[in-house]
């Protein structure tokens, strides 16, 4: 019954409303032409750009002596060897969780910084921002500032337009190639691979990789630009979860800006806001939004609108920072005429992020400090599961892999435990009188060994477990592995 009532009321509501004009919800993309701006924030952004580009281009060329036989690149993610070299740290492929830990730390660090200072990652440090900024600088250099670029876009195709476009895309592609080219230096020895790339000796796969990163740089920084931040990147979608009232965000001081309107020189400021509606904040915005509409998804928090607005405020003689980095709490307080509250560095949110970061960091440090320099894998041979020998005893075969992560040779001793009476033999490695087998593990290498374990028939069950224990020079256990020992069905005979 209630359903019926509801639907009836819906019908009546519909009928009482005037017929709607159907409009498409689709909004076409409008090209953004950010205007050049000068000021302290722009200067910080330039410095950030230079620093981050320098880090990106120079890090692969830093050297770090690891002794003979090991690469001397400070930061190298070697896919061929399955090793990551980060300064004094060497991570093997099977220890990839250390890299995961680093990424977790980086993510938490991002949360932490975001909860304090808003989207400063997006505005200053994100590669998309840095390269877009660089590409925009090139565009501005070749095609002129905002108005010139808008005119050029609308102008009919001419030789001059074609030339400008050609130069711009040419420079973009050069930057993109250099970007993609520098990326591969992180994965192979930089000087070697640079020589190979220049002489054409590098493999086609490498050139394809460079092409891939060139293409993505060119497309993302040259063409997609702010659309990456708005539509492709997941971070803006959930970064608001790190925000609270005490987070620094780019804010328009509505309480003193409104009512806005154009202002004639010499006229008074009574009864009106400080905003002269000059639209400079919109013109300089790299994502093309109006910050006066409040905090929004598209805002990357770069603060260029602050520089633009302050220049205008200085001209009209009003106080600076009509647009400012400030917290919601402070803005609310000032708007209501209260005193500005102190900026809260220590909050539950920041404390929790710090605590989680500390926990992950300590867990990683403990992991790194206690990680074994030797590892062993034991693979039980299944074809055949076991072999009956002439004297009736049962033999199982194993493939052992012994990893020596140290950069020095190790004298290791392998012992069989858990099956008294069984004998361990490794072809090519003579057994010692105590039945253990001495192994010489070469530095930084994986040894593959064949191992046989023989046991008298009367102690062999259908399935049991043995332990292979690898001890170091001082008898300390370096690695231990359990492995199955299989026998004929029916248990011990006779």
């Amino acid at each position: 019954m209630s359903e019926q009532v509801a639907s009836e009321s819906a019908v009546s509501r519909k009928a009482s409303r005037p017929p709607e004009k159907r409009e498409s919800l689709y909004a076409d993309w409008v090209k953004v032409h950010p205007k050049a701006v000068k000021g302290p924030i722009r200067r910080i952004k330039w410095i950030a750009l230079v620093v981050f580009l320098a880090i990106y281009y120079l890090v692969p060329w830093l050297r770090w002596d690891r002794g003979p036989g090991a690469p001397d690149q400070a930061m190298l993610l070697s896919m061929d060897e399955g090793r990551a070299y980060i300064l004094g740290l060497e991570i093997w492929a099977q220890e990839i969780y250390y890299l995961t830990g680093l990424l977790v730390l980086a993510a938490l660090g991002l949360f932490f910084v975001t909860s304090l200072f808003g989207r400063i990652w997006c505005g200053y440090a994100c590669p998309q921002t840095v390269w877009t900024d660089l590409f925009l600088a090139v565009e501005r250099f070749v095609e002129g500032d905002r108005n010139a670029r808008i005119r050029l876009d609308q102008a009919p195709l001419s030789l001059a337009k074609l030339a400008k476009r050609g130069v711009k895309h040419g420079i973009w592609i050069v930057i993109a190639v250099l970007t993609g080219g520098a990326w591969v230096f992180y994965f192979w020895d930089a000087p070697t691979i640079a020589r190979e790339l220049l002489t054409g000796d590098a493999g086609t796969g490498l050139y394809a990789l460079i092409f891939l990163f060139t293409a993505t740089t060119y497309l993302l920084a040259g063409w997609a630009r702010e659309q990456v931040c708005t539509y492709m990147c997941p971070w803006p979608r959930f970064q608001s979860a790190m925000f609270d009232e005490d987070t620094l965000i780019v804010t328009y001081e509505r309480w003193r800006g409104e009512p806005r309107g154009s202002h004639k020189a010499g006229a008074g400021w009574e009864g009106r806001g400080d905003c002269v509606d000059c639209n400079q904040c919109v013109a300089v915005c790299p994502t093309g939004i109006d910050i006066r509409d409040g905090s929004q998804l598209e805002c990357i928090g770069c603060g260029l609108c602050i520089d633009a607005c302050n220049a205008v405020m200085a001209k009209v003689g009003r106080p600076a920072n009509l647009i400012t980095f400030d917290t919601q709490r402070a803005q609310d307080a000032i708007a209501k005429g209260r005193e500005r509250p102190r900026f809260q560095l220590v909050r539950l949110r920041t404390a929790v992020y710090l605590a989680i970061m500390a926990f992950v960091g300590i867990a990683m440090l403990i992991g790194l400090a206690t990680r074994s320099p030797v590892e062993m894998n034991a693979l039980h041979e299944r074809n055949p599961l076991f072999v009956t020998l002439s004297d009736g005893s049962i033999r199982n075969a194993y493939t052992l892999r012994v990893l020596n992560k140290r950069l020095e040779e190790r004298e290791l001793v392998l012992a069989l435990e858990g099956l008294p009476g069984a004998v361990l033999t490794l072809p090519g490695h003579p057994a010692r009188p105590d039945g253990r087998v001495a192994l010489r593990a070469k530095p930084d290498e994986v040894m593959t060994l064949q191992a046989f374990v023989k046991a008298p028939r009367d102690i062999v069950r259908e399935s049991q477990e043995i332990r292979l224990v690898l001890r170091g020079e001082k008898g300390q256990v370096e690695a231990e592995r359990a492995a199955p020992f299989k026998g004929p069905p029916g248990g011990p005979s006779r």
Partner: protein, 289 residues
């Protein structure tokens, strides 16, 4: 062609001018990027047809200016692969099997190569990893060898086979004692004696009688104490390994009407280097002597 393009009143989108029972179609063209990709594939296809074999006709096909064929491509890749392996293969070629066993690096290469050859040529009968097939094909991973377990003996067996058509193949024949040579009672006693060699006799009296027959008929090849003879391919009878079964019934059957395995010769089928790697691989399965 309609002279005036009609627009849909509700959406403002152009109509195509077709009408079916009062239903008109909106003109919603394909996205431009899609269309351009489509045109690009057409251009690509045209180029492809020029450079690569593409058009079939009776009894053949167009060749393409590059002269590419998948068969040549495979041949090139095989050649490249062989060239890549050449270093290791050359080392194996130069070394004697016994020397390979002593050199860890050569052993690694030979075992790798031998494993591949084994899976292709041997595993069908002898099982993956030399596990053997119960009642017909010997286990190669154990320490019992009918025709010798040194690496050279294994190589010889692989080369010429056993009871094969190769004139150099080693062969021996166990007489069928059930066809009148021995009475069923004598065979029974011999079987008891053979079981007694590995401590499994059910009747010591019968085994005692059987020992006389054994000494007369069997000891010449299998040895007085059943120790076997690899020269003649006479299996050891005193151990726990029974190719055709170790029960009394199985032994009686084997004495009465023996089964004898045939191993083909691999000379001519596999080159010497591959056979060498195979011998090393089998030797290293665990039972090599």
């Amino acid at each position: 062609m309609p002279t005036k393009i009609e627009k849909d009143a509700l959406t403002g989108i152009e109509l195509k001018g077709h009408e079916w029972d009062g239903i008109k179609e909106l003109n919603t063209p394909l996205p431009r990027w899609w269309l351009y990709v489509f045109y690009a594939t057409i251009v690509w296809a045209a180029g492809y047809m020029v450079f690569y074999p593409a058009v079939p006709w009776l009894g053949g096909h167009s060749v393409g200016v590059l002269g590419y064929t998948a068969r040549d491509d495979l041949a090139d890749k095989l050649k490249a692969q062989q060239a890549r392996r050449a270093g290791g293969v050359a080392k194996i070629e130069a070394a004697a099997p016994a020397a390979i066993l002593k050199d860890q690096e050569l052993l690694k290469i030979a075992r790798r190569g031998g494993e591949v050859a084994f899976k292709e040529n041997c595993a069908a009968c002898h099982g993956v990893g030399g596990a053997g097939t119960k009642g017909s094909y010997p286990v190669l991973a154990d320490d019992d060898w009918i025709w010798g377990g040194s690496v050279d003996a294994i190589a010889l067996t692989i080369r010429h086979g056993i009871r094969s058509e190769d004139p150099n193949a080693r062969a021996s024949e166990m007489p069928a004692y059930g066809a009148g040579l021995l009475t069923p009672a004598q065979i029974d006693e011999v079987a008891e004696f053979v079981l007694s060699l590995s401590g499994k006799a059910t009747s010591t009296a019968a085994a005692g009688k059987g020992s006389i027959t054994y000494a007369e008929q069997c000891a010449a090849c299998h040895g007085e104490k059943g120790q076997g003879n690899v020269e003649l391919g006479a299996p050891k009878l005193s151990d726990q390994i029974w190719l055709y079964g170790g029960t009394k019934a199985a032994i009686v059957a084997q004495v009465s009407k023996p089964r004898q395995g045939v191993m083909p010769a691999f000379e001519g089928r596999l080159d010497e280097t591959t056979r060498k790697m195979l011998a090393v691989y089998v030797h290293a399965l665990g039972g090599g002597q």
